[in-house]
Symmetry: C2
Subunit: 137 residues, 2 copies
DNA sequence: AAGTTAGTGCAACATTGTTGCAAAGTTTAA
DNA sequence: TTAAACTTTGCAACAATGTTGCACTAACTT
């Protein structure tokens, strides 16, 4: 993804595309994976944790990335699809490989619809499947 | 739940029922909720965090309690059902109330079956729904 | 009763996520 | 074009969480 495309993307979501933000987004998008804050820190040794953290937060707040809580102890981030609004219908299953620790967006597997008992509202969900990925098997 | 019942329960799962473990189990069972390590610490001000932690770990390893990763930042624990072996078929949805921070086991809602792409194995899963509970609505 | 094993408390620690503040950079508007 | 206003970044610090090593104590074994 070119810097230009990234800048447009960020602008379209009302996030000012600063140099740092563009770099962080690029790293995440190019990785094609979910990355934790620590993962990203390693890719930019010179950049402050808090800067990356705040970039990710602004992305998250503006539906540019979504987070996954895979139980590994650190939150992971992944770029959203083009038209994602991070609402229930855009959510997909994530797969956490207990062997390599990698977490993958299963975009082809939407989170199934659940009928909650009366009185509960449904805003959001996380569905993480643990197992072993083809790579590790 | 009486101490006697708890001791039997723990023994049946091959965990020696020490005084501390019995207390921790009782607190968790009696609460009828999911509790974090910090929650339990508060209930036993005199007891070491690590002791409670290790009690919970031994419970978890022996399928006496299960953990929930509700995204709140701390893992929560809940007692398993009588016959639970914590395998896929015993898993249920958890509900995290974004208002009060409480997490509830929805035992009546089993985790739906998902057909993963070839090459992936399915050991375990976490399905947490975020919303507002009747109490907070 | 002595020896072995298991459990507990204490202290310390790494990691994660987060914030306040000041410096640097960017935008606005005179 | 320069000053003022605002935003972003880096630094430092911090709390919370989860976790471990070690020594002491309790419990079990023979």
């Amino acid at each position: 993804m070119t810097n230009n495309e990234i800048e447009k993307k960020l602008e379209s979501k009302k996030v000012k595309p600063t140099a740092m933000r563009t770099l962080v987004y690029k790293a995440l998008a190019d990785s094609g994976k979910t990355l934790s804050l620590a993962d990203l820190e390693q890719r930019f040794e010179k950049v402050e944790r808090s800067t990356i953290f705040r970039a990710l937060k602004s992305f998250e707040d503006n539906f540019i990335v979504h987070t996954v809580n895979d139980g590994s102890g650190s939150v992971k981030y992944a770029v959203c699809d083009e038209d994602c609004t991070c609402n229930i219908h855009d959510l997909h299953v994530h797969f956490y490989c207990t062997r390599c620790g990698r977490t993958r967006c299963m975009k082809e597997l939407p989170i199934p619809n659940i009928k909650l008992p009366d009185g509960y509202t449904y805003d959001n969900a996380q569905f993480v499947i643990n197992g072993v990925c083809p790579r590790c098997d």
